[in-house]
Symmetry: C2
Subunit: 405 residues, 2 copies
Amino acid sequence: MANYIAFTAEHAIDYIKEIIKKELITVFADNAELNAYEFGDGNLNLVFRIADQDGNSVILKQALPYARCVGESWPLSLDRARIEAEVLINHGQLCPEHTVTVLHHNADLALTVLEDLGHLQILRGAQINAEQFPKLASHVALYLSYTSFYNSDFYLSAEEKKTKVSQFINPDLCKITEDLFFTDPYIEHERNNFPTELKSHVESIRNNQALKLAAAKLKAKFLSSPQTLLHGDIHSGSIFVDANTTKMIDPEFGFFGPIGFDIGSFMGNLLLNYCAQNGRITELAKRRQYQTHLLTCLQDCYNQFEQHWLRLASSETTDISFASNAFTKDYLHDVLRDAIGYCGAELIRRTIGLAHVADIDGIEDEQARLAVQQQTLVLGEQLMLNATSCTSKDEFYSLLVSLLN
Amino acid sequence: MANYIAFTAEHAIDYIKEIIKKELITVFADNAELNAYEFGDGNLNLVFRIADQDGNSVILKQALPYARCVGESWPLSLDRARIEAEVLINHGQLCPEHTVTVLHHNADLALTVLEDLGHLQILRGAQINAEQFPKLASHVALYLSYTSFYNSDFYLSAEEKKTKVSQFINPDLCKITEDLFFTDPYIEHERNNFPTELKSHVESIRNNQALKLAAAKLKAKFLSSPQTLLHGDIHSGSIFVDANTTKMIDPEFGFFGPIGFDIGSFMGNLLLNYCAQNGRITELAKRRQYQTHLLTCLQDCYNQFEQHWLRLASSETTDISFASNAFTKDYLHDVLRDAIGYCGAELIRRTIGLAHVADIDGIEDEQARLAVQQQTLVLGEQLMLNATSCTSKDEFYSLLVSLLN
């Protein structure tokens, strides 16, 4: 990283002009007049929008060599910019419809130039406003099934897979998940973040040996189960949407891990929004209708994820040992159990851990917010505790319905 | 590998003289008069013994850039010499008593200079002659528990572990195991090797869907469960012994894989010898006595392996998420199930796959040999089929006793 400097908007313009000249990017005309501004929070990355006067634009994202949001001194290697770009390139080849396009990457400067998705909304903001996206479930299912299948042992040769596992070793970002997702919520830790009113509930979590065992098993799998190249951070803030479009961004947490992690995290975020609406939408019929939509979205997504997987496995499996319906079903049953567990863990860590969601934290009425937090904790606990005994996805959906009513 | 040349005995002497001069080795005096000869089969590696006139000696092992024994054109990178040396160094730090000592390694020449264990016997030869080694069980238990615990997520930080996983990516050698251990025996393949009389039994294996599912699950775990740094090839030919000594050699198949694989392979080799003795020792009382010894050795080894693990986990676990007896027991229960499965798979692949064991192939009487092969196949099948339902090691031992009687 000898040549690294943190960019200003002027650097960004100069850099884009340089790669136009070298014909590394074709969005802009050779003599385009460019303007640029920084947006985003600048905690981990700098993000610039660079535009010409004809309405063409790109995003330039540059990793910063420090992290301001996760404690004061969390070391984050600039290598995460390479990881993010390479995950996007990998996933973009497998599912271009739902992966933001990488236009250019420079590892020395830890920067990536991306297509501008500014015409879309971030899913989290839209779901806080109870907007509905009828194609979201099938788009996410397509993205997660294709990217996970084609990076798995069903499709890659063992040698290709081992090479990729090595390519995506991502210790700094994985450590954030290992700590914040699986460790902190179950112990006393200064990074945890919850109101005093939840103290006794939090203590009951810390004393729940069965729950701690479930969390430890999920963590062990996160550490040592390189089934596929995960996005690694599929929450509602990593998904751009409109009525017809769904695009995944920000896979800097990408690494080879358990398939259930991404889809479990996605379902967890749907459920966080589901619970949050109990403190947001006051009109009962309207709330029920929206929550039913969310639950249908979750089920449709998981159903289609599994259908794609079964179809891909039956037609595209290259390893003769794995080319049987019995094996695929057994494998997917494990994925389901993992997904339920990770979904539950997401609910708990977003409620009492360091990183919360705006769906809940933005609820103005304190009592309403507390009631939602109590609900997400109970839901998370019950999903984690019952994950391994779920024998089918229908049993999982029934469990969900019984817990949400 | 620009400087690589395959050695002759003269090269070996010159090389040792050179590293004596550079003070990289202290076994020999500066002016020692050395002699050298090649031994071993020369299929994958060259092995030389270099000695002086005072009785000091070392072994020089050099990897060859081709493999003659595994099909005609199995590509094997010289990198396996680095892997082998680095596994020995890693394991030697954790369990020096039972790991052959690396005196010197040269990656460019793919060679390693090792302590000479010529005063010991190879376990396989000794067990073919029904020799007993009362310390074998506890030595192997110590080696496997210490090397597996200290390379696991219980002890290594996630970052250290990810670095080591990368360091020991070993695609060429893993592929041999993936194919010969988990794939070939369950399909029609020219590499398989069994007498015509076993044909119907082999076909029943190929048609046994439950068994094929078990084999596929064991293979999936072998591919994607980097729990610890395995030796990777713990059979009776990789263990040097005498009454008081046990030393592991040849970990060129080393990689991060499931903990149950090494101990399962070791138990499988004890059981191969157990069955072989039915075709070797004609005197019933003598045979029973020796077989009882073998079964005790297997049980003692597994019991002590588990005891060491429980003790190490309770005192040396660095990850607070894993520091509970409940988690360790759950984890070790999975290790047991894996070990039983890999043990069964070793029995099957050594009977009908490419690589056999001299314990059985050396039985002169054809009918006796066939009877032993039938027994190892049935034993292997039953262990694989019942592995995941075993709830304790005692249940495993009972199953074994019922199958062996």
